[in-house]
């Protein structure tokens, strides 16, 4: 691959200043991701280059050059200022994968706001929890999703504006305002807010074992790692056509679905469509995609469809494949090689890291099933679970830990500094995952170290699901755990005890499932509910999810004496 020399050469003497130099950033100067991804690319002589080619499920297409990206993001920034949104305020993006989502992200950053992207399939309860916590001032959404916002609006006094991008001509209720991106006046010489390296930029919400989701606070300096990891791991070349499957409601969709490609001046394509193997292959062939960043769940769904569907389309355009979200199993790597003639390169990172931290770099020998090796500049290890000291022996499982200090590292959890500090032990940041390291320095994923459920590459917190389950009139107690799944790696399974007067039934199970799906999200919906007489508890009455989880995975529960005494 053209961007890289050997792994050893890259890591020796690596400094993040490589990215600073390439981006023209000097310490102490203003730094704005919105400007970096649009105006700077235009100033490099690429104003006419396609930045975004968007297509919906019916094949309707829109195309935007970098100059249009610059002008439209300026226009959105000015529109927000006109609504009274102040620098530092949170502006939520709650949309399907439409152009306004991608361009609006840059617009928010340009006016100094903090972009808060949320997955558009979230139900009103999930939305409410995250908007309330962030004290969100404005939300940009579509007509169909504004219906969810209306349900919770009165309970969110800080939410001043709901901006609807496809409102049509019908009048909107008070507090809602229409914004037709293409019709916005284009400001002349828009003055980008002078953010600096440590100015807050993006607030992504992620789930933990306890409590409600946490707001992961990133800053504009994150672009340093996002730019370079995108360039090296995804091996961007100037003429590439890049497709990232991820939704910008999640961190992959912003770090590598917006900032990574556009800071590199790459043309990216977006397909706003649900999963269909045939449709995806047709899209790759039609758009002549060269670099494809996908996810194990999607790859396993494609595997299920078989190689015949692949053969019906000319996919010879594909040059480099990568994957993120959950561990990529060896079979998927090998399958990629068989049907596309090249393997998927697994990458490991999370919302808090902001960028890829362990990876199979292009040109590096791939060990199918391995996460790869630390990206240059990232010091990674596995720690003993009791002493939090690095494990020296190869092949022994420990906690994946990173030495803090890379540019896109989370700066804090929103209004939760204590929760943030709890992520560090002995000077290491703990990712919450377990792995081992082999004699060549490759990491091998073993599983989560907590009760968080990784379903289809998305982390779902059991607490949020259990709280929603308890709101059902029939539910007395609940526990949500991971259950193994051949496609999504894990899915949610709920264990429920019922109140007096209620009996288990298929109807009740379906009713509860649909309730969670609508209140929280399809990801959080238990795919199975087991009605039980009682749940395993500690002496003080705390539910021990570990017992239930181990049962699902067929693993030994181990010594519970300490836990049960709690």
């Amino acid at each position: 691959m053209r961007n890289l020399s050997s792994y050893e050469d890259l890591t020796a003497g690596f400094e993040w200043t490589i990215a600073e130099r390439e981006l023209g950033y000097t310490k102490g100067a203003t730094l704005n991701i919105g400007w970096m991804c649009s105006d700077r690319i235009c100033a490099m002589g690429l104003a006419g280059k396609a930045a975004l080619i968007w297509e919906d499920h019916q094949g309707n297409q829109k195309r935007y050059t970098y100059d249009e990206l610059r002008l439209l993001s300026d226009a959105i920034a000015e529109f927000l200022i006109g609504l009274g949104v102040q620098p530092g305020e949170r502006v939520c993006l709650f949309m399907d994968r439409i152009p306004e989502l991608y361009i609006g992200f840059l617009g928010i950053l340009k006016m100094g706001g903090i972009a808060q992207p949320l997955f558009s399939a979230f139900g009103d309860e999930s939305l409410f929890v995250r908007l309330k916590d962030a004290g969100t001032a404005a939300i940009i959404t579509q007509k169909k999703h504004a219906l969810k916002v209306r349900k919770i609006r009165e309970q969110l006094p800080e939410l001043r504006s709901t901006i609807v991008v496809d409102a049509g001509d019908a009048p909107l209720p008070p507090g809602e305002v229409a914004m037709r991106m293409e019709r916005l006046p284009k400001p002349v010489n828009f003055e980008i807010h002078p953010t600096t390296a440590e100015s807050p930029s993006v607030l992504h919400y992620t789930s933990g074992t306890t409590g409600q989701p946490k707001g992961v606070q990133h800053v504009h300096y994150s672009i340093i790692s996002q730019y370079l990891t995108a360039k090296w791991v995804l091996d961007f070349q100037p003429d590439d056509i890049y497709w990232c499957n991820a939704d910008p409601g999640w961190v992959t969709g912003t770090s590598y679905g917006i900032i990574g490609p556009w800071s590199n001046g790459i043309t990216q394509v977006v397909l706003d469509s649900g999963f269909s193997a045939e449709r995806w292959y047709q899209f790759i062939a039609k758009q002549r995609v060269t670099v494809w960043y996908s996810a194990p769940t999607a790859i396993r769904l494609l595997m299920k469809e078989g190689a015949e569907t692949v053969k019906r389309n000319d996919l010879s355009c594909l040059r480099h494949l990568a994957s993120v979200g959950e561990p990529l199993n060896a079979e998927a790597v090998i399958w990629g090689e068989q049907v596309f003639g090249k393997p998927f390169h697994d990458t490991f990172w999370q919302t808090e890291t902001g960028c890829i931290v362990i990876t199979n770099l292009p040109g590096m020998p791939i060990k199918p099933g391995s996460m790869g090796r630390p990206f240059p500049g990232i010091m990674a290890t596995v720690l003993n679970t009791k002493t939090y000291e690095p494990i020296q022996e190869t092949g022994l499982a420990g906690l994946i830990a990173l030495r803090p200090g890379w540019p896109s590292q989370v700066r804090t959890y929103w209004k939760n500094e204590a929760g943030f500090k709890a992520k560090f032990k002995n000077g290491w940041y703990l990712c919450g995952d377990r792995a081992s390291i082999d004699s060549d320095g490759y990491f091998w994923f073993m599983g989560r170290d907590d009760d968080v459920i990784n379903t289809g590459g998305h982390l779902v917190g059991p607490f949020e699901i259990e709280s929603a389950l308890l709101e059902h009139p029939a539910v007395a107690e609940s526990a949500a755990v991971a259950k193994p799944d051949p496609v999504n790696m894990e899915v949610v399974k709920a264990f429920v005890t019922l109140k007096k007067g209620f009996k288990p039934s298929d109807d009740l199970e379906l009713e509860i499932m649909n309730r969670i799906r609508k209140r929280l999200s399809p990801l959080a919906m238990p795919q199975e509910i087991e009605f039980v007489d009682s749940l395993p508890k500690t002496r003080s009455g705390k539910i021990v999810r570990r017992v239930l989880r181990c049962k699902e995975f067929g693993e030994p529960v181990g010594d519970l004496s300490t836990i049960m005494e709690e």
């Binding site: 499920h57 219906l147 649900g274 899915v491 298929d506 199970e509 379906l510 499932m513």
Partner: protein
């Protein structure tokens, strides 16, 4: 529209669209690719069909493609009703 198709369509509208969402769902509207039902939500839709029509749809037949329209879902249900 026959009874089976109508029941499925009405269920999709009731359960998968927000109240007040005026999007029209016809027999051929794309459900999965159109973003109305996703692969996770398919599980509850499948559960509804199995219960309502006393059938078992094997997981390998419950594909996004088979669930991509009311028409296709109805065809799937009919196939298993005949078995």
């Amino acid at each position: 529209m026959d009874e089976l198709t109508k029941v499925i369509r009405d269920y999709v509208v009731k359960e998968y669209l927000e109240e007040g969402d005026d999007r029209e769902v016809t027999e051929t509207s794309p459900l999965i690719t159109g973003g109305i039902v996703d692969s996770f939500s398919m599980v509850s839709l499948k559960r509804f069909l199995e219960k309502k029509y006393a059938i078992q749809i094997p997981d390998d037949q419950a594909t996004p493609d088979a669930f991509d329209s009311v028409q296709r879902i109805a065809a799937l249900v009919r196939r298993f009703q005949q078995k």
